[in-house]
């Protein structure tokens, strides 16, 4: 499929700049698809012909089929994934630092969300507050193997494992058959059927703006319940990302009869997940309680989760300090200092928020149509200074694509113009472009996206005579200005999608839906198209290296470095995965309280 013109519905990114998802392994596996030898990551047994199965987790929760093919290293070649062995994975046993001892059942976890989800429908919106809640209440056909020990940035976490589907067959490159787990019940006591699954997948791809994930299934031709326990997906064209999209937490299975009755599921939660909705007072509190009928034995450990809706940051901090909530995220380093003074024993995890921050140049506006001017701005940026000043030293240099795409990312110093900051070169470039004396420019910004970084950048630009004024905007007004291309410069942030092509094409494809500043050109489009069709992983990586080099050189976006944030939990919270990624869902399936 043509990637350049692909219209993306975005994942909204919250104030926490919740990161997106890395699907690099899947991509490698996906590459095999065209050759008809798709090796599913979880396959335990190779079926005959082109049929490949996933093994069931079956009755034992601790025996997860582990990914052994394709997921090991970033350099796995396109032919490496044809065999795999079942393996006992550690996914159900919590990680070392978070756990000592046997999980205890019971207790109530106190947690918070900064805002209410807009509504509760599992198949429409991608808002992060909604994903956090629904991730604990619904299942998909597959899910990513996030769990204690498998943090969101680990290879294992990027591996799909069975969820409602025990296995799937890849009959031919256009046909997938998913075999469902038996005996699964929705929260209202009804049985999960193949009809529910087919209905849900078809509903997600409804062509209406309310269904923000429809784009992910654009290449799907039909979804049908072919037998009582199997669902067949037929594609219009080979689609490497299908398994990723199925495993993404957004692809949730909801009961057909509830939607038939109510029209939508905006007010109710009826899933198959480990927690069900007990009560919800908008703007105040949501209470989830254990689903005793959940198909995975012993899961969840918690009796209930109380989620307070807390928009104000100081009250979140106060509540964490006073143990009114058990988890605080994300924290910056100065907040951590206070927290540690009050409660020295809190457990802190560092993570990269995985988003991309930068100043976007509007190439329709002079002088930013001139690549030399953009390059001059880049040469004036000292990423280390931004790390030191804004991130208090917690961060690392990055360019072009977020570090999420580990294995695909070209290291900073191997990209063009990695000798920044270089004021002399910057001045020379400006002079060449005819702006020897610099210029004045306004940069639109909003508090939640990289405004602080832009403020430092404004100081740095002074060295080359560029007088950048930061315009502080209200969020809604900012979005309108950004989406309409109504800016000269704009300080913004974006969460990545799953596959590296999703990110680069959606932002830099000349027709793409997130291309706010008329970025990209015909050369880049050609590269993106080529990268989307290339099924050999190594060759594809080479193409993406070229793309990153081009992005670094063209400077459509002046990149800010990657920052580091922290999760803080009280020490009695065990089995917590710092899953800063609502796309993975999960949340608190394996959390237990040691108190």
């Amino acid at each position: 499929m043509g990637v350049v013109g692909r219209q993306k519905q975005p994942q909204s990114i919250g104030e926490d700049r919740s990161p997106g998802l890395s699907r690099r392994d899947l991509l490698q596996r996906g590459a095999l698809l065209g050759a008809g030898v798709l090796a599913a990551p979880l396959l335990a047994a190779c079926g005959g012909g082109s049929t490949v199965g996933l093994t069931a987790t079956s009755a034992s929760a601790s025996t997860q089929p582990a990914a052994t093919s394709g997921s090991g290293s970033g350099s796995t070649s396109g032919t490496g994934g044809t065999s795999a062995t079942p393996e006992t994975s550690a996914s159900a046993s919590p990680s070392a630092e978070q756990t000592s001892g046997q999980p205890k059942k019971g207790g109530t976890l106190k947690w918070y969300l900064p805002d209410d989800p807009p509504d509760l429908d599992p198949q429409m919106q991608t808002t992060s507050s909604l994903q956090w809640v629904l991730g604990m209440c619904y299942n998909g056909l597959l899910r990513y193997n996030v769990g204690p020990g498998n943090g969101p940035e680990s290879e294992a976490a990027a591996t799909p494992v069975p969820d409602l589907a025990l296995k799937y067959e890849n009959v031919d490159e256009l046909t997938y058959v998913f075999h469902l787990r038996q005996g699964v019940k929705f929260h209202d006591g009804t049985d999960l059927t193949a009809e529910d699954v087919a209905f849900s997948l078809n509903r997600i791809r409804t062509d209406s703006p309310e269904f923000q994930r429809a784009y992910a299934f654009a290449p799907v031709d039909s979804v049908e319940a072919t037998t009582p326990d199997s669902v067949t997906i037929k594609l219009k064209e080979p689609y490497a990302a299908l398994i990723n999209e199925i495993a993404a937490a957004y692809t949730r299975i909801a009961p057909k009869h509830v939607i038939d009755e109510k029209g939508d599921m905006k007010q109710v939660i009826v899933g198959t997940g480990p927690f069900k909705l007990k009560s919800y007072q908008r703007g105040q509190q949501m209470v989830l309680e254990r689903n005793d009928d959940y198909f995975e034995p012993d899961i969840p450990y918690l009796d209930s989760i109380e989620i307070a809706i807390m928009p104000d940051n100081s009250s979140q901090l106060a509540a964490f300090n006073s143990h009114a909530i058990d988890i605080y995220q994300p924290a910056n380093s100065s907040q951590l200092d206070t927290m540690k003074k009050v409660n020295p024993d809190i457990v802190v995890t560092e993570y990269a928020p995985m988003g991309l921050n930068g100043i976007g140049c509007n190439t329709q506006v002079k002088p930013f149509d001139d690549v030399r001017v953009r390059q001059a701005l880049w040469y004036a940026i000292d990423q280390q200074k931004i790390i030191d000043i804004v991130y208090a030293g917690h961060g690392s240099k990055q360019r072009a694509v977020p570090a999420t795409y580990a294995g695909w990312v070209v290291p900073y110093d191997q990209l063009p113009m990695s000798d920044a900051p270089n004021i002399d070169k910057a001045k020379a470039l400006l002079k060449e472009a005819g702006y020897e004396n610099g210029f004045k420019v306004k940069c639109k910004s909003v508090y939640r996206y990289s405004q602080k970084e832009a403020t430092v950048a404004a100081q740095l630009f002074k060295a080359i005579g560029v007088d950048m004024e930061i315009v502080d905007m209200e969020y809604g007004a900012f979005l309108t200005a950004r989406n309409n291309g109504d800016f000269d410069l704009i300080a913004f942030a974006l969460a990545p999608f799953g596959d590296i092509s999703d990110f680069t094409a959606a932002l830099y494809g000349t027709q793409a839906s997130r291309n706010y500043g008329h970025w990209g050109d015909a050369d880049l489009d050609a590269l993106l198209e080529k990268g989307d069709k290339e099924l050999d992983v190594d060759k594809r990586k080479a193409i993406y290296a070229d793309i990153q080099k081009m992005l670094a050189e063209k400077c459509w976006v002046i990149d800010f470095p990657e920052d580091k944030l922290f999760d803080a939990v009280h020490p009695y919270v065990k089995g917590f995965v710092s899953a800063q990624n609502p796309e993975r869902g999960l949340g608190f399936w394996h959390v237990w309280l040691d108190k």
Binding site: Q7, K8, Q9, P10, Q11, S12, I13, K110, Y112, P118, D119, T126, S208, P209, E210, K266, Q281, R282, G283, Q284, Q285, E306, A308, I309, M310, P311, D312, S314, S315, L317, A318, A319, N321, S322, H323, A324, I325, T338, K341, V342, N343, E474, Y475, G476, A477, F478, L479, T480, A481, R482, N483, N484, G485, L494, S513, R514, N515, Y516
Partner: protein
């Protein structure tokens, strides 16, 4: 008297009508619309158009207003664009919270302002007077949201205590409810007490210099009776007027305080409606606020007559 009240109440109707037009136009005039916020990162114009149609926002603003007015006259203020809940339902949940906050804050403000203002005047230019003046000028200078932030941060750091995170109605659990309202009411009430405290002081000083007070003193009236019956009562008249006029400010102050202290009140609902451009919700909230303000003004006017026989005669 009755005609006066009726006339005032009747005047509320055209005021509301005018306000509804202004609000309808203003909320649509500010940059950034609900469709952009709903679509977030996508700038696809086709999707935006489709969504605009679904929400009924593709029609001219005048037509939209006509539709809204027609429904409003039948008592239907519409449903939220985001939650699809009835906006009246949302308000009926939020309003009691704000009213409780306003009433407790008002109580705190009066309990601080009236006795302190009185003492300050009676002991003019002595230590208690200076102290009260320092307290009141501090209250005037500190923004309530900053005080609120301190009130929530410091107990958490010092005593590991924070107010409950979840609102509970006063009828369900009075103790929990008051725990939650204590700090926000203090943050809000202190600022308001400062203005009243200063006014109370100056009014008392004014009254103390009146001839009738000197006469009362001369005929040997006990000082307690003098203060309570003659000074306090007369000094209170302008103070109550000002407090009445200030009462509507609680609605504005509540916006930030409710946000900080996690109270699901009208202020927070209104702020949210502005942020996400939920036009029907905002429209309804502002109407309610206008009605409350107009009623408060009316009550204040009526209280003049009740407190001051001179006004009643006129």
């Amino acid at each position: 008297m009755r005609t006066y009240v009726l006339r005032r109440i009747t005047l509320i109707i055209p005021t509301i009508f005018l306000v509804s037009i202004v609000v309808f136009a203003l909320i649509r005039a500010i940059p950034g619309d609900v469709v952009t916020l709903m679509l977030q990162d996508s700038k696809d114009p086709q999707q935006a158009e489709q969504l605009r149609q679904q929400l009924g926002l593709d029609k001219p603003v005048v037509v939209q207003y006509g539709i809204w007015l027609g429904h409003a006259l039948q008592g239907d203020l519409g449903t939220s664009l985001w939650t699809k809940n009835s906006v009246v339902g949302e308000i009926s949940r939020a309003l009691p919270v704000t009213l409780e906050l306003a009433i407790i804050s008002m109580l705190i403000a009066s309990l601080l302002a009236i006795p302190f203002g009185l003492i300050s005047a009676l002991m003019q230019n002595r230590f208690p007077d200076y102290l009260v003046r320092i307290i009141s000028i501090t209250g005037l200078s500190i923004p309530n949201f900053w005080l609120g932030t301190l009130l929530i941060m410091l107990p958490a750091i010092w005593f590991r205590w924070s107010p409950p995170t979840t609102y509970v109605s006063i009828f369900a659990d009075p103790v929990q409810n008051l725990k939650q309202f204590m700090l926000p009411s203090l943050a809000l009430g202190y600022g308001f007490s400062a203005i009243t405290m200063r006014l109370m002081r100056s009014e008392t000083l004014e009254v103390m210099r009146q001839d009738y007070i000197r006469t009362a003193q001369a005929k040997g009236l006990a000082s307690r009776a003098l203060v309570i019956r003659h000074i306090l009562r007369n000094a209170l008249i302008p103070v109550i007027t000002v407090m009445g006029a200030q009462a509507r400010l609680f609605l504005g102050g509540a916006v930030l305080i409710e946000q900080i202290f996690l109270l699901p009140g009208l202020g927070r609902l209104t702020l949210w409606a502005i942020q996400v451009r939920d036009y029907p919700q905002l429209q309804a909230n502002i109407l309610i606020i206008v009605i409350i303000t107009l009623l408060l003004n009316l009550l204040t006017d009526l209280s003049y007559g009740w407190l001051d026989p001179r006004v009643r005669l006129a």
